[in-house]
Symmetry: C2
Subunit: 129 residues, 2 copies
């Protein structure tokens, strides 16, 4: 059972106790350590988190392929972690990375290559890269 | 059924077709439009997305409280959206915001107020704010 005391400990303490969702994952945001640009949003399971912290290379868990993977292991587009942060309730991590090449599988530097604006008939997308 | 053609359209097209998860949500990363700092990670359902796009104020869906809420509606700590981006597979959004006051419910500017380092006996946290 989760209690107020658990919650306070998780939020105000210095004990690493990630709060995984029902699938055993936390959300990870990777930003470019130089520019601050958000490069991608992905997920980590306990093993991906551990490997990332221990190795300094970003590891993720792919929900679609159901596998653990080291970012760039096939593409060479690795992410070197400069800093890792954890959010208040420990269910999201933010890594600042040195990105080699493209973070996005489409070949773009960032996955966030489209802007959303309020168009006349609803949301309108436009390319920003 | 999801096809390769659907996937290509979603990734390379300009049609807004967010990919909601089984709970009807997409992930949202909010960064400070001035500093680039990641302020928080939260979720939006279709209605929160629509309201955010139409109003320019950040709306979220709280998984713990199971309600739609406008950021700052009780605290006054609103987020004015300067730019919204959508990622490749349209299941994550990035908003650059002008944050009034604290983004975090703990009163801190950002939810990411602790760093994670590789300590001698596993992950070690430290406060950065």
């Amino acid at each position: 059972m989760s209690t107020a005391s658990d919650s306070n400990d998780r939020e105000e303490g210095l004990k690493f106790q990630p709060k995984f969702d029902a699938s055993g994952l936390v959300t990870c945001v990777a930003t470019d350590a130089g520019t601050g640009e958000v490069l991608m949003v992905a997920h980590m399971n306990a093993e991906a988190l551990r490997k990332t912290i221990e190795s300094g290379d970003a590891w993720y868990f792919s929900r679609s392929r159901n596998v653990l993977w080291r970012k760039g292991e096939t593409s060479g587009h690795t992410q070197r972690v400069v800093e890792m942060r954890l959010d208040c309730d420990q269910d999201a991590v933010w890594i600042k990375v040195e990105q080699t090449g493209a973070a996005c599988h489409t070949g773009r530097r960032s996955c966030f290559y489209r802007a959303v604006d309020n168009g006349e008939s609803g949301a309108a997308l436009s390319f920003v890269d």
